[in-house]
Symmetry: C2
Subunit: 546 residues, 2 copies
Amino acid sequence: MEQNTTELFEEFKELTASEFFRRNKQMLGFSGKIRSLTIVFHELITNSLDAAEEAGILPEISIELKRLGKDHYLLKHADNGPGIPENFITKVYCQMFAGSKFRNIQSRGQQGLGCSGCVLLSQMTTGQPVTIRSRYKENNEYKGVEMKVKLDVKKNTGIILERKEIETDRTGSGIEIEFKEVSYSLSEQGAYEYIRRTVIGNPHARIIFKDPAGKKYTFERATDKIPPLPKEVLPHPKGVTADDIIHLCKTTPKKRFKNLLMDSLSRVSQAKIKEVQEATNIDMNKRPKSITWQEAEAVVKQFDLMKFMAPPTSGLKPIGSDQIEKGINEILLPEFSTAITRKPKAYRGGVSFIIEAGIAYGGKSGRSIGIQKKAEIMRFANRVPLTFDQGSCAITEALKSIDWKRYGIRDLDNAPITVFVNIISTNVPYLSTGKQSVAPEEEIVQEIRQATMKIARRLEKYIRVKKAAKNEAMRSKIFEDLVPVVITQSALLAEKDVPEYDKIMDKVTHKAKIMDMQQRLKQPEIEPMQIKTEEPKMRIKTEEED
Amino acid sequence: MEQNTTELFEEFKELTASEFFRRNKQMLGFSGKIRSLTIVFHELITNSLDAAEEAGILPEISIELKRLGKDHYLLKHADNGPGIPENFITKVYCQMFAGSKFRNIQSRGQQGLGCSGCVLLSQMTTGQPVTIRSRYKENNEYKGVEMKVKLDVKKNTGIILERKEIETDRTGSGIEIEFKEVSYSLSEQGAYEYIRRTVIGNPHARIIFKDPAGKKYTFERATDKIPPLPKEVLPHPKGVTADDIIHLCKTTPKKRFKNLLMDSLSRVSQAKIKEVQEATNIDMNKRPKSITWQEAEAVVKQFDLMKFMAPPTSGLKPIGSDQIEKGINEILLPEFSTAITRKPKAYRGGVSFIIEAGIAYGGKSGRSIGIQKKAEIMRFANRVPLTFDQGSCAITEALKSIDWKRYGIRDLDNAPITVFVNIISTNVPYLSTGKQSVAPEEEIVQEIRQATMKIARRLEKYIRVKKAAKNEAMRSKIFEDLVPVVITQSALLAEKDVPEYDKIMDKVTHKAKIMDMQQRLKQPEIEPMQIKTEEPKMRIKTEEED
């Protein structure tokens, strides 16, 4: 080697998280003009929904998108959530890896990147500060503040440029933020579709959106039920790793190992501690700080051999099959719809999750490509629509592995159906920083298959009944057409008057048809009410700007 | 709202990068046992190749994988690169977002996450420290050091547990690192296949791999040519953003804006500066620190309107079509192979890139699924095999959009071919932190299409010629079979002796066939040498452990 190695290291640098993501913005999901804007909507809406839910508030979000020039927009966002205390505002909006959601809780966001990522993108493309408004409650008083802030990339912190107090009697937060190099699109991956899907997955949310043309869409709630407060769930012993135990031991104030285990994990009782102690010979009264890796590993190994109650699922709050059907019906106006919420399962031994699935058939189901209808797969994780990277997602993989022919769908890609899948978990295993696809963990893929096949069977029955009814209609049409001829001809042959038969015929055949239909629908799993007789009212109101 | 907002923020936390990735290890590519190990191989090999190339060394890498238990392995890695100076060792191996590659240079790694990510995974699954050996050159002297280190997740730094000096007369670095919850596989996504593809994309590298069964594979170099040193390339004015200019202005020691532009960007001459000044009215002698966002934006806008020479491509070092063919031939032993290295193009206006493509047909091309052959797509970025997330990759998208029927391939999925695509760029637009797929930028997708269609045409010709030759062979077979009969029967009929015709026939028909083949091959784009007559020698040597 000719050079000195040290010369090669002259350029060695240490970056802050903000500097890192400034160089790698695609890792935050910001790649492409349409996608970038959709990700911005995603981050803001997600934060609003999480915050409202945590505070027990029925969420209401308003977004206005103004076009300022080519690929240049001003976005105004406001919600009715709990707001952000003043001293946390720059942390939430200007600091990567800072957040309140690093807990074992079911929430949409989890990574402390969302809001600060949007501010970074704004600053990178426009150089402008953002305006933040927060109304919050402190010492039982409402406070309000408005500030203009910038993100200091070198330090990964915020800089406050202007600040003023605002009077208020309610809570909520909002942002005014400018972007260049983004574009608004009505396509499947665009911002509008993102909102539409959010409303399907969150029937309790009200979203008002004013698009760049000045058109105002009001997506009304399908339900006024405040969603239950998500709870923090202690990790299950079957899902815990030696590294987790060591981590707990290092950070706990507890004096005894056994108390740490019982208080930090779920389903670990005094009896279980005794069982572990007997099997591993580890003194469970030891100080947590003195636990070695080998001991932690021995405990995990022992946990694996033991029986525990299933992980508590009280922290998981599914949408519920009724609510999914409501969401689907009011947006897709389908001919047939059905949904299922499965029982909780666990992946990697101890992380619990719930799969929900829905199918809509006919009406506005599916994607329209010209006059053709293609199947549409709507993927959700904790009620958040997943819009990109579908190729590598557990949901796509599971749905593609189903033999759809068995369910009356000759070709999934070209069927007029919408398949909805939602995975609920305190710990959704996302594949990438952009949180757009779910890792194909075996247990998850299996559950999605099971859930979808179950409802596909109902769809198959509907399609079969519909086909049979069609055949029946054809047969009775022939019957109706033929009988008068027979009667007339018989009368002529008998040299009698042709009898009055129209009204009698109508009554007879109509009654026969209804009885037949009811007979068919008495088969289990199909409720007559699922056959839509009247069009549901549109839930989206549209107003042109005056 | 009932609660105080401040209560909701009691759990607010700030994480270090290490803490963040400890919670989100799948974002480093660590998800699934097979994939996790492949990513480890990827990070270590990538770093070795980059380091060797930067120091002008012909790389030699040895990896030994020992099975210690179920899903439990010890990996020993060593290279002949420039090594790491002692005071940088913990930064390289134990600190996220620290690295020497944050430059506008074509390198495999770019993110300062690779090595520290592997150490994090090791620590999370085994709790063990790693042993690092570095031999390097400082003040023209060789130095060596061995240390055991751990990663302090809370601080995102390294902790040195043991340290000793080692005597040495060469350079190189190495690591001994243990993993649990990983598994070694011979599948397409496994570690062995990763090495095989690395060798195809890097015919100048020598890799020695000892697998868990003790079998030693030596992948010899196909060429001894030291690859040219990659150069740092200044950004092109067409690819620069206002944010980049502001960033440059803030960090430059230059006194005048014009000098900053000329020295920090490529293709910006005194004449161009004058042109910008006249169009924008910005005083180009201003101090860079006083440049506003509006001014930076005006400059970028003006750059967009102006003509510049294409971005310099001296920094781009493609593999070269000859080398690709060598790589392909020696590993796949194909019946036909061809490759192309295209001229540099630019995406997003100013980021230059080069597409290289190769096709191998027959032999060991394609994937074997039982007795069936399926097409195999080998994706590379800066010579690094991309193993996962193929669905969303520009390369997959481009190849799927080609009408393969036009090139004699009835069904790409089921053809016995291997398609090789490599994208070379100082700035590959990866889609995710795991660097496993390339963003489908329009210009990139187009170039991949063009490159592949060009070589697909050559393959089509080969298939056509082969078919014709087969038909011809059949015809001459009939001729050869028939003529003797005619001669014999004629002799019998004429009541003469049957003449000695075998040798004459042989000569005549053989000559005719050769002339015919040469005729066909004279058509442009097919070189006779591309039709393989003898099997190339195997480049992989395999030895069983003694």
